[in-house]
């Protein structure tokens, strides 16, 4: 796989977003942090069979 900066470029392109040059460093830092945060969530074993109440997805 590519480095984090290249992964970030890919998802930015997918989302149709072009940050300004002065944002690049912050975005990269945020990207790396965000992936670490997502990994933390997947580490919650108790969530394996969990489902949220509908209030957290949409109320019908």
């Amino acid at each position: 796989m590519t480095g984090d900066d290249q992964k970030l470029d890919v998802v930015l392109e997918i989302c149709g977003i072009s940050p300004l040059p002065q944002d690049k460093e912050i975005m990269l830092k945020n990207f790396v942090t965000a992936r670490e945060q997502a990994a933390l969530l997947w580490g919650v074993a108790e969530a394996r069979y969990e489902e949220p109440g509908l209030i957290f997805s949409a109320k019908l």
């Binding site: 998802v11 997918i14 989302c15 997947w42 394996r48 069979y49 489902e51 949220p52 109440g53 509908l54 997805s57 949409a58 109320k59 019908l60």
Partner: protein
Amino acid sequence: MSEKYLTIADAAVAMRDGTTTSVAITQEILDRTATLNPALGAYVEVTADAALEQAAAADAALADGIDHGPLQGIPLAIKDIIAMREAPTTANSRVLDPEWGKGTDAPVVARLRAAGAVFVGKATTSEFALGLPDPDKGFPIPHNPWNVAHTPAGSSSGTGVAVSAGLALGGLGTDTGGSVRGPASVNGHTGLKVTFGRVPKSGVVPLGFSLDSIGPMARSAYDCALLLEVMAGYDASDPNAADVPVPKYSELLSGDIAGLEIGLPIPYFFEHEKLDPEMKEAVLGAVKQLVDLGARSEEFELPYANEAKDANHIIMVAEAYAYHRNDLVNRWTDYGYATRPTLARGAFYTAGDVAQAQRFRMMWSRLVARAFEKYDVMITPSAPAPAEKASEMTVSRRLLTPNYTGHWNLTGLPAVAVPVGFSTAGLPLSMQVIGKPFAEATVLKVADALQRITDWHLAVPPVEALVAAA
């Protein structure tokens, strides 16, 4: 079906007037299942001994004057993603932990059991209620009893086949995007997707937790009502179960639909280029029959229906992916060839896409709610076409074809699939009746009113050749 008793209602009467017994009906169904299941693939596991014990107990109780109601002694098929004490739950997958739900009843099964029902066995499902049959994985391949070259649809395939071919008088399916109504539609019987939260779904392997529902499948709307009045009601084990009173549905099917306002949403549901003309004609014919009974109908514009289909799919695969992620990473090839790429779609959507799908969902639900200020029910075809040839189905095809069912999972509304005729090729056609939240009684009443003057739901598929071959 017993040759004599097509419906739960008829069988229940016959058991009480001494014409027959649960053991007799159950034995007949077990025999028929032994003959036809190899060709039709309706059941993953038949729990014959337990079923006969349950039938005998039901008969004995009735003889002692203990009557739990019309489901007592009635043979049912339970989709194999729902926990049932007598047999393991496989979800038709090599991936599901064999210990999952072992030896337990889902609340909905416990309720049926308490009502005296007989369980024929665990009915075939698409793997994890998703995907297409994979012949390499060792599970039965279900076939449409009207033409075995055609799909019985999914994912509650086995229950649909069993009800249609007489291998049960009714049963349970689950519906996340149409998995009760699709099989009901192509196998020619009635199937109800309930309001989200109406039936507790604990003890069921989830697909998309905010869309999943358990629904009754049977020949008639009346039978679905008999099942639902036992299945429905709050249970704290499901965080999304609704604490809403349960009416006696069967008593509300009066046949009287005078003054009922029917909305026919266009353009997506009636003017789509991929809508089969025979399907459309049959549905509009049934609507005309309802109008003759005193209902009023009119077309109205319901925008963003195509987007709603996609929103349902995005939410479903994102929720499913969250459930399956660890196994997809570690056991990719244990999943069926069609299941794994479909589940993996959950990885292709961004968090923003899913949040947007939820935002769209709220917006579209309000749009639909506004339409329901004017109409009592909406009617659409249950599907754009009758059963496809099984050999022509591919993983990506469903993304490219319209779908008329997922919309009502997205909005959480009750919707019943009702037989309305046959195509020139002899395949069932079906109409969908959609109602307001918790208005199961209304949609069943409309279906029942039609079934009082038609007998499409009682048509028996031509399985004599299969019987002879066996």
